[in-house]
Amino acid sequence: MIRFILLQNRQGKTRLAKYYIPLEESEKHKVEYEVHRLVVNRDPKFTNFVEFRTHKVIYRRYAGLFFSLCVDITDNELAYLECIHLFVEILDHFFSNVCELDLVFNFHKVYLILDEFILAGELQETSKKVWIVSEFLLFSACVWNQKFQNSFSSLIAGNNMQINLVTIVAHFCCFQNYNGGANLIICLLSNSRL
């Protein structure tokens, strides 16, 4: 089981912290400080695993960011190492070329994505296809603005998810200047049973 996940930069600033076990506020800060100290000065050649109290921290460095997962001592280290990588790939899909700055300014979106990835300390979803769909949905939730809400409100009023999805994709295309949007909608409608 995953105890917590931390994103910290090299200076030890926490970019994101999510705990799956109840911890006191002061304890959290102590943990963040200790994990940063454990991880930051390790030789890149060394293992990506460090013992931390009675658990293990699996960490991986991407540019200036450390992604650290604290897991049980019996868990498969390599699998969790790859789990971090999968998470970064997902972030990369979402932000297209994700960099630390994206995470700094969009920390709430990262939290939402994380909630779809890990739930209650267990890996929730590892399939990328399902991922992309929920990303769209998340996206719609995040970038909703008045203009689009008005123009599509009639469509969304019902519970018809297909229309809802089309809306979202359209929305997505507008926002991202994504030229292939129309085709994308067609693909989605024909491929998925949404």
């Binding site: 799956y20 293992t47 200036g64 699998a79 630390e100 739930l119 399939s127 990328k128 399902v130 939730a141």
Partner: protein
């Protein structure tokens, strides 16, 4: 709208994030955050805030809290936001609440109602948001409130909801297993769900359930085997592939389950062999994830009923791990080896050199793992080398937690496998010297007992030799500063008991030393007490022997000081000492007989010598004694207490209507008494068949080797016990020790010392693996059973290692010689070096089917050029991007690139920057940008836009964090 920044947030918010990012010190950061907290406190309490604004305030609260400041004043607003109609606000509310509140927070009760409502919502996104919150917030008390709805959601048409419902139920099970025991069958049902995601989620709770009670899930073995087979045959949707492995995370979970189910069950194991062999063969050992699955397979193999073929391929996989250059894989290899040697101890020998390499590695994690392995494979033939190594390492580290662990392991191994008592005492001395405060005090007592009892039924000369060597070593150590208390206690006791026994040291010398100890540790009453008692013993031995006692002046002053001590224990000891000294030789001899610490002092527990007195008292009319338990008027207190507890556990929030009162009240009391009576009978029934099962399997699994690995505390007891206590086993024990003493120690010792020299030498030169290392390996791994074979195999190894060593030195000299580099890149994925922008991680992904790419493949004809472009862009550094951007306005149609220096048109710049980007692409006139924007890989346009945007916000790649702009995935 004008307040909209590029990230969908107001400028104020972005400025906050920016200023925090640029804060030069923690104090400055705190100042900014405190100001922000003040602002938020004021704003959030204003009436009639627009909802959009409120949402942002909540997010700012989340940010403040993430930076480590208290945002509790805003919790209630987050809770309120979960009530909102709009999905967006609701979701933000739930997000904030899950981040703010722990499961025992008072506000939870306010959210439960909203959650209940949302779980019934038609919109599945609302349900998902609510389920996310359920997993974090619902505690034992509130489980009943949402349980029915969550169970209902298991049948929801949306797989995302079913999945989350399964996970929520699993969470409930972890919180309070009793509340969901009747629902466990649901997990079985959900295993057959159409959606692989739901099936995967079900594996977690099933794993938990199966670990607790294996036997009732044996029927699922076939299903799990089938699922694993299908997964390995790539029957799942392609989207579950990760780095070309089919659904690896699901495979790993399945393998974990199988290893539990097949543990010690021959029949179940046989069903798994084929699929296990298949998935082992299919693992791609060039990727991390392939190796993760492979490792899990090895773990599974080592826990199943042994199958020679599988063990062989597992051993092959382990040797691949150990030979790899990656530390991660070596680590996994060492761990896997530790598991596999339990069922086939001989495979360790093949890897001795790799293991020794790991032991000398500078990486602590790897080193510790290796010590764990050594601990598992300790035998009486290699205990000296291993424990020496452990102690050396223990001395070198500062981490108290691990120091304690390794110290207790040293003690444990020493107690189990000690080749001689002399060695044992020396080892214990070292352990105490360096980690004395960390080890269990029992160990100190054991050590005293060992010295007192010696070999048990041996002749006395060996014992007295042992004692005098102990005394000698302690007198040497005693002067050192900062000895731990427990060790000093042992020293004082031994000096008092045996300090003068062999006549080599005069009583005044010993007593002087003891006084020094007491003075040096004047704050430690325990040590002082031991010292005073030791003094008393020495003086009384002298008196009993008829010699005249002359107390040293420092002794006298010590006794005077102690007799006025605050500690009554110390006082008593001091007065006893003074009293004993005044007595005559015969009396002293009776009080303090020489070397009698092992004699039993008979205690008459029934106090029969008082019988007469009691009889007399009764005759005089005294009340007879009644035991406490029989005294009337005193109710059974424990019964009361249990009743209380029972009440307490019942007393919780109830979310359904109360039942009608039942007429028969007395019936309520019966369960209470039942509950208390079950406490008295601690024989849980299901444990019985399990134990039988294991017992039946163990003998077939384990040979002598594995039984050696186990703790043999019973053997220890016998070794130290009185000779009458257990005669036959102890003789055999000591026999084996004696033969060991005769034959092996010189060899081992010489090997040991040589090995050490060599290890120093090798550390200095860092080049070759010399034959001495070989010897170290041999002393670690070589079984005593087949020395000849070992000899030949080690001879064979020499040539091998030499070549290996030269190879190594070559690599070291040539820094990164191209050959080795090439090998490492082809055989395994290099560790993620993301500083290097052109890394092949993404390109290696390219062949794997990427859904995004699939979609784009339909549209994109210019993929080739885009890839080229993206490669080029990946190489450009941030400054170049800036210059690129500076050029852009001229090529694109730009009319409003304002002067970013003037703050008045700051907002205008932001928007123009955005509109500029929009126009550029929709225009289609920009030929440089057009082909690249559809590409998936490094996307220069995206990064350019992002870059431009943040620059307009005023964020620059400062010296603070130069990596801020770097792509995380190179």
């Amino acid at each position: 709208m004008s307040s909209q920044g590029g990230f969908g947030q107001s400028k104020e918010f972005l400025d906050l994030v920016k200023s925090i990012g640029e804060a030069r010190s923690k104090a400055e950061e705190d100042r900014i955050v405190l100001r922000e907290v003040e602002t938020l406190k004021r704003r959030i309490a204003e009436p009639e805030i627009p909802k959009r604004k409120l949402k942002e305030y909540i997010l700012r609260l989340v940010y403040v809290e993430m930076l480590g400041h208290d945002a509790s004043f805003g919790y209630i607003h987050a809770v309120k936001m979960t009530h909102d109609e709009s999905l967006l606000l609701k979701r933000t509310g739930y997000l904030a609440v899950t981040l703010f509140l722990n499961e025992d927070h008072d506000l939870i009760i306010l959210i439960v109602n909203t959650i209940q409502k949302d779980l019934k919502s038609d919109n599945y996104l609302v349900v998902c948001a609510a389920l996310n919150a359920v997993c974090k917030l619902i505690n034992e008390e509130t489980i009943p409130a949402v349980l029915p709805q969550v169970v209902e959601l298991l049948g929801h048409p949306k797989e995302a909801v079913r999945k989350k419902a399964v996970m929520a139920l699993h969470r409930f099970y972890q919180r309070s297993s009793s509340s969901v025991t009747h629902l466990i069958s649901n997990f079985r049902k959900k295993l057959c769900d159409n959606d692989p995601g739901v099936m995967g989620a079900t594996l977690c709770p099933l794993f938990d359930l199966i670990t607790i009670d294996v036997n009732s899930y044996k029927d699922l073995v076939v299903s799990f085997v089938n699922i694993l087979k299908q997964v390995a045959e790539r029957r799942l949707p392609k989207s579950y592939d990760y780095h070309q492995m089919p659904a690896p995370f699901i495979q790993i979970k399945l393998l974990k389950i199988l290893s539990v189910l097949g543990n010690g069950d021959k029949q179940a194991s046989e069903q798994m062999y084929t699929v296990l062999g298949d998935s082992m063969r299919k693992c791609d050992s060039t990727s991390n994830i392939g190796n993760a699955v492979l490792y899990e397979c090895i773990c599974c193999v080592s826990s199943l009923h042994p199958n020679p073929k599988l063990i062989e391929s597992a051993a092959d996989a382990i040797s691949k791990f150990l030979k790899s250059d990656s530390h991660n894989l070596k680590y996994m290899g060492i761990d896997a080896l530790g598991r596999l040697i339990k069922i086939s101890p001989e495979i360790a020998e093949k890897h001795q050199l790799a293991v020794i390499d790991c032991l000398e590695d500078p990486d602590d994690t790897l080193k510790r793992k290796t010590f764990e392995l050594l601990y598992k494979m300790t035998k009486s033939s290699n205990v000296e080398v291993i424990v020496d190594r452990m102690i050396d390492y223990m001395i070198s580290i500062n981490d108290n937690h691990y120091k304690t662990e390794i110290a207790s392991r040293c003690v444990e191994l020493g107690e189990q496998f000690a080749p001689s008592n002399q060695w044992f005492i020396q080892t214990m001395n070292k352990v105490f010297e360096h980690a004395g405060d960390l080890v269990n005090i029992k160990v100190a007592h054991n050590l005293m007992r060992l010295i007192a009892e010696g070999f048990g039924e041996d002749d006395d000369t060996a014992d007295s030799q042992l004692r005098s060597s102990a005394v000698e070593s302690y007198l040497r150590i005693i002067g050192e500063p900062k000895l731990p208390s427990a060790f000093l206690q042992v020293i004082c006791w031994v000096l008092g008991e045996y300090g003068t026994a062999d006549g080599r040291y005069s009583p005044s010398y010993i007593t002087g030393k003891l006084c020094d100890v007491a003075e040096a540790h004047s704050s430690d009453d325990m040590v002082k007490a031991y010292a005073v008692t030791a003094l008393m013993k020495i003086y009384s031995f002298e008196i009993a022997a008829g010699r005249k006692v002359e107390m040293l002046p420092e002794c006298q002053s010590l006794i005077e000081e102690v007799s006025a001590s605050h500690s009554t224990d110390l006082q008593q000891r001091a007065y006893e000492l003074q009293a004993v000294i005044g007595l005559n030789a015969h009396a002293v001899g009776n009080i303090m007989p020489l070397d009698a610490s092992c004699e039993d002092i008979e205690i008459d527990k029934s106090l029969s010598f008082l019988d007469n007195y009691v009889q007399q008292a009764l005759e005089k009319g005294a009340q007879p004694y009644i035991p406490e338990s029989e005294r009337s008027g005193v109710l059974n207190i424990s019964n009361f207490r249990s009743q209380d507890q029972h009440e307490a556990s019942i007393h919780a929030l109830r979310f359904e209507a109360y039942e009608l009162p039942k007429p028969s009240l007395p019936s309520r009391t019966t369960p209470v008494t039942l509950a208390s009576s079950t406490e008295l009978v601690p024989v849980p029934e299901p444990s019985y068949p399990r134990e039988v099962h294991q017992a039946a399997s163990v003998p077939s699994l384990t040979d002598t080797g594995s039984s050696d690995l186990k703790l043999r505390l019973d053997g220890v007891q016998k070794k130290w016990g009185r000779s009458t206590y257990s005669s036959a086993p102890s003789t055999s024990n000591s026999d084996s020790h004696r033969t060991g003493n005769g034959a092996t120690p010189d060899v081992v010792a010489s090997v040991n010392s040589k090995a050490r020299e060599v290890s120093y030498a090798s550390r200095r030169s860092q080049v070759e693996i010399s034959p001495e290392k070989q010897k170290l390996a041999a002393s670690l791994f070589g079984g005593t059973t087949k020395p000849e074979k070992k000899q030949s195999s080690s001879g064979h190894k020499v040539s091998k290692t030499n070549s290996h060593a030269t190879d190594k030195s070559h690599g070291a000299k040539g820094a990164i010689s191209s050959e080795t580099h090439a090998v490492s890149t082809t055989t395994l994925q290099p560790p993620p070096d993301l500083l290097d922008l052109g890394e092949p991680i993404i390109t290696s992904n390219a062949p794997s089917v990427d859904p995004f790419k699939q979609l784009e493949g339909l549209l994109d004809l210019t993929q080739d050029t885009s890839v080229v472009n993206s490669g080029a862009a990946g190489a450009t550094k941030a400054p170049d991007i800036m210059s690129l951007y500076a050029e852009m306005p001229t090529s694109g149609q730009s009319d409003s690139v304002a002067n970013p220096l003037s703050s008045d048109i700051y907002d205008a710049t932001l928007i123009s920057g955005l509109s500029n980007a929009t126009n550029r692409t929709s225009h289609g006139g920009n030929t440089i940008m057009q082909p690249t924007q559809l590409s998936k890989g490094p996307n220069p346009k995206g990064s350019l836009e992002k870059d431009a945007l943040v620059r307009q916000l005023g964020v620059n790649p400062s010296s603070q964090n130069p990596n801020l702009f770097k792509d995380l995935l190179g």
